[in-house]
Amino acid sequence: MQHQITFLDTRGGSVRFSCRTEQAISRAAEEAGVLIRIACDNGGCGACQAEMQSGAIRYLAPISEKQRRDRRSGELRYELLCRAVPTEDTTFLIRRPWRRINRQPMSNLLAQLQN
């Protein structure tokens, strides 16, 4: 089973990809060539914080509750994409810009050269 994930950035950009129900959203994004910032990959450091605009998620393993909260107001604000899996189609506002990655750089280079 798959769900559609949409990332929005603060400047109006967006990207859409699909994510399996047992797959961390960060991994699905990477497979789709969308690299978000991941550091501890263990739900603790907050590098992958994102604001959920619509949809629903659950967590594969415990995450650090304080990283879900706004540091100033203390209100719940973020989800952590390194351990979140979607339970329906979900849209996030990503805190840090993502980077598109070329997953077949050598093949693409050859294709360019052969054209």
Binding site: C40, G43, G44
Partner: protein, 306 residues
């Protein structure tokens, strides 16, 4: 008298058993005690009861850090000096922290809790205390000798530095200054090593990393191999060298996201403040100072704290 060494870090973790496995199998510590759901661990070449305490929590982070003093009277003196400097101070009874004598807990200007204590129960070195082989057959993981230092984050590193120097007689070995003359990073010692406690920019109360020392650069290399082979998340550059201090290093994360470091390197400081002017790093050189080979610092490097 005075502080001797960084004694322990008390960590908050979301899964105590997973954390304990990490600190034993990956870092290479000995599990020394389990009391009231907390796990105590110590490195092979430290003779005290613990250097890490794992506390079950809903969040990752730092519960407190502990420093030893070498005179029981230091506890009262430090409490009085800290209070006079405006800090909140509470008392800790003997064995309130397992394996540890009475202590005082000082709230730093950065809100971190710093515990001072005189006594730690002795468990000896992993190799034994009598006619020991200098290397132990039971060494696991990263073969770390000891917990060496921690880097904590503060909104105002200069303010915390001033407190630690004035009240607790820390000295400063190196520092990084922004173009406006504000102290961004501060490396402080209470013994004769480069640092026992370092401060970086970031949220008050947070942990940036805990550093474990190994003997050789080769041990750092083997440590990175181990981390990669075991799938432990490491910092982007994997193996690197800090220009600051000139040490070989790798950062990685425990299962709750708390950052660890394996490092090696020799560095001697004079043991008292203001004897030797600190090394000063300017922002235009900080890339080399942080990651010497790569000459680049991801802007998130200081942002990702627990």
């Amino acid at each position: 008298m005075a502080l001797t060494r960084f004694g322990y870090a008390s960590l908050q973790v979301m899964d105590v058993d997973a954390a304990a496995r990490h600190y034993v199998d990956i870092v290479g510590l000995r599990e020394t005690d389990r009391v009231d759901g907390k796990v105590y661990l110590q490195a092979k070449d430290n003779q005290d009861h613990h250097c890490i305490i794992l506390n079950p929590s809903d969040s990752a982070g730092l519960e407190s850090i502990g420093f030893k003093v070498n005179d029981p009277a230091d506890l009262d003196n430090a409490a009085a000096a800290a209070e006079a400097a405006g800090a909140n101070v509470t008392r800790i009874a003997a064995n309130e922290i397992a394996g540890q004598g009475e202590g005082v807990q000082i709230t730093l200007p950065s809100t971190h809790l710093l515990t001072l204590y005189y006594h730690a129960d002795k468990i000896g070195y992993a190799c034994g205390m009598e006619n020991p082989d200098p290397v132990g057959s039971t060494e696991t993981g990263g073969k770390v000798n000891h917990l060496d230092h921690c880097l904590i984050s503060a909104e105002n590193p200069a303010e915390v530095t001033e407190f630690l120097v004035k009240v607790l007689d820390f000295g400063q070995s190196e520092r990084a200054m922004d173009p406006g003359g504000n102290m961004m990073i501060s490396f402080l010692f209470c013994g004769n090593t480069m640092h026992d406690l370092a401060l970086g920019p970031g949220p008050n109360g947070h942990l940036h990393h805990l550093a474990f020392m190994v003997d050789d650069r080769g041990d750092v290399v083997r440590g990175v191999d181990l981390l990669k082979e075991k799938g432990v998340p490491t910092f982007d550059y994997g193996l690197s060298r800090h220009g600051i201090g000139g040490v070989q290093t790798v950062y990685f994360h425990d299962p709750s996201g708390n950052r660890n470091e394996f490092f090696s390197g020799a560095y001697v400081t004079p043991g008292i403040p203001d004897r030797v002017p600190p090394i000063t790093w300017t922002m235009d050189h900080l890339t080399r100072g942080a990651f010497y080979y790569e000459n680049a610092v991801p802007e998130t490097f200081f942002d990702e704290t627990t």
